[in-house]
Amino acid sequence: MLTVLVISALYFIAGQRVARALRSNNAGKLHSLPHYHGVWAAVTSALPALFVLLTILIGKDLLFQFWARDYFPEDVMNGDTVDRAIALAKVSNVINGISFGEVEPWVQAAGDAWIRWDANAIVVANSLVLAVSLVGGLLGYRRINLAFRSRNYVERILTWMLIGSSLVAILTTIGIVLSVLFESIRFFKLIPPQDFLFGLEWNPQFEGAERAGSGGGTATYGMVPMFVGTFLISAIALTVAIPIGLFSAIYLAEYATPRIRGIVKPLLEILAGVPTVVYGFFAALTVAPFVKSVGESMGLEVASESALAAGLVMGVMIIPFISSLSDDVINAVPQSLRDAAYGLGSTRSEAVRQVVLPAALPGIVAAVILAVSRAVGETMIVVMAAGLAANLSFNPLDAVTTVTSQIVTILVGDQEFESAKTLSAFALALMLIITTLALNYFALQIVKKYREQYD
């Protein structure tokens, strides 16, 4: 790779040189500036070479996996995909020099062959890439002459690179959707969707326990308790955040002097910048015991990981979302509306309540919906401060669990990818994505529908 870069740098210098020489020797006019010719030569040498290199790097393992099958015994080849995957893993252990006990002879043979292929592949790759970069550069270099429009070519390549990077966003989305969707489909093959969507009980078990029939109850995968828990905690968070956030926004937008605004606004935004793991630590260590002791002094039974504690802290976290979004919306209400209200003799608060807020309402609702989607997707606070027991409960003093905290609990650590328990996390993630995207879509629609009413 480094060699390729060096070669392309050399071609850059050569291309630029020859173009300069052309310009100074000849009476004719060079179409493009010399350094474009240099870049052209460099690009023609580097791009195809890097492409070849990448193809070899990615392709070689696939090819070797295919070849390695010749070494597999009959029963592995006739088995299902899992058997083959295990066989491959054994071979790769041999390659990496990790051995667990006795190695079967065919595995050893396959591993040795693989190492041999690998050594050959490096030689082939090196020489091929080198050759491609030299030849490619030479071809590009030979094309340089007075009339050659290297700038146009270079710019076209650049444009394609820009388009390529914009496509990363699409690729990421596709990646997310595919990874979640495939595993969810596999999950729904094991567990019927209606059981998952409407089941009232969540009790995942490892596949191994089921297979062995060692009891421990049957696994049930009903997502209702978790969504109830999620929305319970979000609701608590919103009851904290909406009044505080909204009144802060009104105060900052309508009453505060620029000086106070300049101090308070960044301070509020610090709340949004604090990492969620810090909030989680704070919730688990300070707020939860406090809620418990207050509740017990009032004679209430409070779980030590109550939904209330997690919800309160989450509410603090989303205050800045609501306040800064509503602040923007309130500021966007035209001054003429306020002036008209004042002109009719209303006080400031009357103007705010009866004119500004109704005008800003769609934006405020959108802000609240965005805050909900934020709360639903929030992970660390609930992992650290909410419980894991999937109680179907609307009581804020009970321990409840949420979608995100279940995902984390299931997927942290080692997991076997065939078990319904692991796959259930992907199905939960699918539901989570659908929920948050739907919320965002609604927020967007509300804003779109009412936006230009006052312009």
């Binding site: 496509l167 009144f247 802060s248 400031r348 009357e350 992970t379 995902i407 942290v412």
Partner: protein, 435 residues
């Protein structure tokens, strides 16, 4: 419009009515203002509470108790084969040397039980510490040196006054005998309270007194490096394309919708994608900063793209027109004029995105960065962990001293975040241009 008939008031009556309602309206006005002020005060109160809680626990966490012991560095005992290498020192009896001097400082206790209690006083990492000292100062062999050793985490907790002497002996983690030893050492002035060197130079450890954040800090830096190398060029390129060159067609629209959707996806979902694609499908190893950085880069990409687009949009069209007017191509205009002018805004957005990535925990849990890793990662493909994940893991440990260590780690993390954000604000102030 309505059938309501209005009562006609003469001016006198109207004035009286207004006068009567004015007080009420004024009171309402004051109440409303106070509601707003209270809301701001409550929000700021939460902020103060949060920081006070963390600082009050975390600042003591930056310090820990040490006991100073006079150790005789006996070459035959410590380095039996006499080569002064790590291997030869591994054969030396450092524990013995430390314990001898510890017993000496305690007035040579007799009996197994007493000695056992005395051994509980110092950290189990003391022999390692002495070994490092000898490696660094080989010329001091055969002499008497006084070295500070960390005390055990239970002893540390006791010295902070978090374990009460009044608690019955069976209920507390340290015995009366041990308390007697501690008092004796304290009376001799051997116990000191100093800035914890383990916190900054130690790595993950199950023993609270030796646990440090160095590994996590290095892991965080490596992860952020990967993240910025991927996210910055991609984000800027995307922003340039969408703002300057993209035709108004379906593809552009899809890209824009995609970016907005990505910004709304919960971070834990990015972790799931990383797990399914990079680890399961591509077979990359778990818990390496490379995968973590890629996942975080994809997560911060929308932030960077959106702020970069805003920065490009802020460059006035007259600049572009001027460049195009003197014969520059579209690409030259962008590269030579638009990008340099938009760079401060882009950098600010990138720093904010990086701060977001630095504090992110959930996606990294998904790709297995919770592994218990003692070694400091040396490169992006070495297993490692990051600061927020370290905080998450420590928060789960039961030992009391970990609470302080966790808070101290949080202080370090917040210090990084605040300085990054401050840098972003300064950069914006300094380079911002009004057109």
């Amino acid at each position: 419009m309505t059938d309501r008939t209005y009562q006609r008031l003469d001016p006198q009556q109207a004035a009286e009515r207004v006068k009567a309602s004015i007080n009420l309206r004024k009171r309402k006005e004051t109440r409303f203002l106070w509601l707003g002020k209270t809301a701001v005060a409550i929000a700021l109160g939460f902020l103060v509470l949060l920081f006070a809680g963390i600082l009050s626990k975390g600042i003591p966490g930056l310090f820990q108790y040490y006991v100073t012991l006079d150790v005789r560095l006996d070459a035959r005992q410590l380095d039996p084969s006499g080569q002064m290498t790590v291997e030869s020192l591994a054969g030396g009896d450092f524990d013995g040397a430390i314990l001898t001097s510890l017993y000496e400082a305690l007035g040579n206790p007799e009996g197994r039980k007493e000695k056992r209690e005395a051994r509980r006083l110092i950290s189990s990492g003391s022999s390692q510490r002495l070994m490092n000292y000898v490696l660094d100062n080989p010329e001091q062999l055969e002499s008497m040196v006084s070295i500070q050793f960390a005390v055990d985490d239970d002893v540390d907790t006791f010295l902070r006054g978090l374990i009460s002497r009044e608690t019955p002996e069976a209920d507390r983690r340290i015995s009366d005998q041990l308390i007697g030893y501690i008092d004796a050492l304290e009376a001799e002035g051997r116990i000191s309270y100093e800035i914890s060197d383990y916190l900054f130079f130690g790595s993950a450890s199950r023993d609270a007194e030796m646990a440090g954040i160095r590994g996590a800090l290095v892991g965080s830096i490596l992860t952020l490096l990967v993240c910025i190398v991927i996210a910055f060029p991609l984000g800027v390129a995307t922003a340039v394309y969408l703002e300057e060159m993209a035709p108004k067609n379906r593809l552009t629209e899809i890209i824009e919708i995609n970016i907005n959707n990505l910004a709304a996806v919960p971070s834990v979902v990015f972790g799931i994608m990383g797990l399914a694609i990079f680890i399961v499908a591509f077979g990359m190893p778990r818990s390496i900063p490379l995968v973590g950085g890629i996942v975080l880069a994809l997560m911060t990409l929308p932030t960077i793209i959106i702020s970069s687009r805003a920065a490009i949009r802020a460059v006035p069209p007259s600049i572009r027109d001027a460049a195009l007017g003197v014969g520059a191509s579209k690409m030259q205009t962008i590269m030579h004029h638009v990008l340099p002018l938009a760079m401060p805004g882009m950098l600010t957005g990138t720093i904010i995105g990086m701060a977001q990535a630095l504090g992110e925990t959930a996606p990294l849990l998904m790709i297995g960065m919770v592994a218990f890793i003692v070694d400091v990662p040396g490169g992006v493909t070495d297993p490692g962990t990051v600061l927020p994940v370290q905080i998450f893991m420590w928060a789960d440990f039961a030992e009391r001293m970990f609470v302080q260590k966790t808070s101290a780690a949080i202080i370090v993390l917040l210090a990084f975040l605040i300085s990054m954000n401050a840098a972003a604000i300064l950069l914006r102030k300094k380079l911002e241009r009004r057109w």
